[in-house]
Symmetry: C3
Subunit: 226 residues, 3 copies
């Protein structure tokens, strides 16, 4: 943290805001993992584990990659508590199947935006160059969801042929954050703005069916063993 405080001229409020964002992102991703578990009819252990893996996985990968070991997720028990608590709330509430669809998309989108920004800030403040920090922001943002999908036996959303904008807004948010940090004009409220935009674009892409460009070769083969 000291490094973070040092490199970006922000006060405690900023730091709080940054960690608030990270915490909200963890809650959002934990909810997405827990909702998916409920849809998969997993028991409480599966719900807690998948929620924790989704919420903390991206940050753990980021910390391991930048060499910040042990990762915050294993040292700051508040983060773990947030993930597990969210999972337990959803377990107790037990949303009906239909309610596990759009809230899953929304919570996932919120986490996507917040982690793209906080992941970039964390990596940059740990001393990485702006481009590397942006790549790590993207990794943090999509890492948890990829772990969630791989563990639950589905192709990661970001790699599905029918997928909408997911990595693009997230990378854009991370890149903008990295540039702002590099120019030393990053401010937490700008970061939250970035995160919000990513979330909005992601949800809009789901709502309006936006897609990334795709090779114009139309015949859809069923996935086959490579």
């Amino acid at each position: 943290m000291s490094l973070w405080m040092a490199s970006s001229n922000l006060d405690n409020a900023a730091s709080l805001l940054h960690h608030g964002g990270e915490l909200i992102g963890i809650v959002a991703f934990a909810a997405s993992g827990a909702l998916l578990s409920v849809r998969r009819n997993l028991d409480i252990v599966g719900i807690v584990l998948l929620a924790a893996a989704t919420a903390l996985g991206g940050g753990i990968i980021r910390d391991v990659i930048i060499g910040k070991t042990p990762p915050t997720a294993f040292t700051n028990l508040w983060l773990v508590a947030a993930a597990v608590g969210t999972a337990l709330v959803i377990f107790v509430w037990q949303p009906p199947a239909r309610l596990t669809r759009w809230p899953l998309d929304v919570t996932d989108a919120v986490g996507l935006g917040l982690f793209a920004v906080t992941g970039t800030v964390t990596a940059y403040d740990y001393g990485l160059a702006a481009p590397s920090a942006a790549m790590l922001g993207l990794t943090t943002a999509i890492g948890g969801g990829i772990i969630r999908d791989v563990l639950s036996g589905t192709v990661p959303a970001v790699l599905r042929s029918n997928e909408h904008l997911y990595a693009i807004p997230s990378l854009a948010g991370a890149a903008v954050t990295a540039v702002l940090l590099h120019l030393d004009v990053y401010r937490p409220w700008v970061g939250l703005l970035c995160a919000g935009s990513v979330t909005v674009v992601r949800i809009a892409s789901l709502r309006y069916g936006w897609h990334g460009p795709r090779p114009w070769y139309t015949k859809r083969e069923r996935p086959e063993e490579s």
Copy 2:
């Protein structure tokens, strides 16, 4: 190791016991990976690789997370030899398909118990706090099996809706170990007792169909793309 010797007031016998447990856990998990490979009709390479990934994967993840690089699995060739040797024995013995079912469950349960304890001890003695050590014990215990299942294209046992107690006994064993270490009253034979209990509970849960609580929403949907 020196660190381990230093921080926990145990003699060489204890150290031997600790490493004996780790070695047995590696053999057990390697057997579970090899048996699964035989059932999948993989060739010798697949058997050896899946056995090694199952037996060493959890420890590698633990070491990478606590920052102990390169992981013991890459520096202590005895561990690799144990995993590969076990795989070769099973390859030569070539158990019939029906024999690959319950031995797989038993070996997996033995590895689960031993790694929950040794993983916690390793992390704690590397300097992590007791709660973090317990989490890493759980990670070590279930990591190898998760890698085995993901690599062989099945949803990890711990995340299957029909799964029995798996993570719960393992986490309990890790937690007890962590508490004992924290109170500085951990003794190797207690550790082995912990490991044994985890194994027994796991096998009993398979035998008697114990489950963790599950959202009372009965209709089972087939897993669908999230």
Copy 3:
């Protein structure tokens, strides 16, 4: 790098050759990932991400395991550019489905050979013992392909029951490289020779249907949940 220069008595040309090999391996693996994405009909994001994960994944795992953080793939933007550029070329060229089959095998085989050698050299020059370096060479070589296959929802090629020689030639190439390094007689052209041999053996095994020995238990069960 300085370490690398120091520990292996090679001149700049050698270093260039080494990095040239690594770069070509990245392009080859990126192509294999991109071709698979095209076959899966992914959009441009999926193509770029899968190509990057395939091309850089093995090296990232290797660097994280040997403790070289942040991994070269996150600091040397040329490597990222090579992977992304390759993906974009294939996206623009948009090869028809039938063209995604054998080029995928060939590019994968080229990357397999080059990474087995460069991965071993990198690990050895980072200070690991020869056997560990060979294991890391294997990890680097098969890691990217495993990530590619797991992310795209197929069982990794190396663990498929109908798979041809894949890990064996790669491990052999890594082992020979490690021995040469240990004897301090490693020369880049020998390394390229190693890599080439691995590639040739791999392709020949596909062409002539070579298999590793397999338990003579013939009945093929369909993969079932373990």
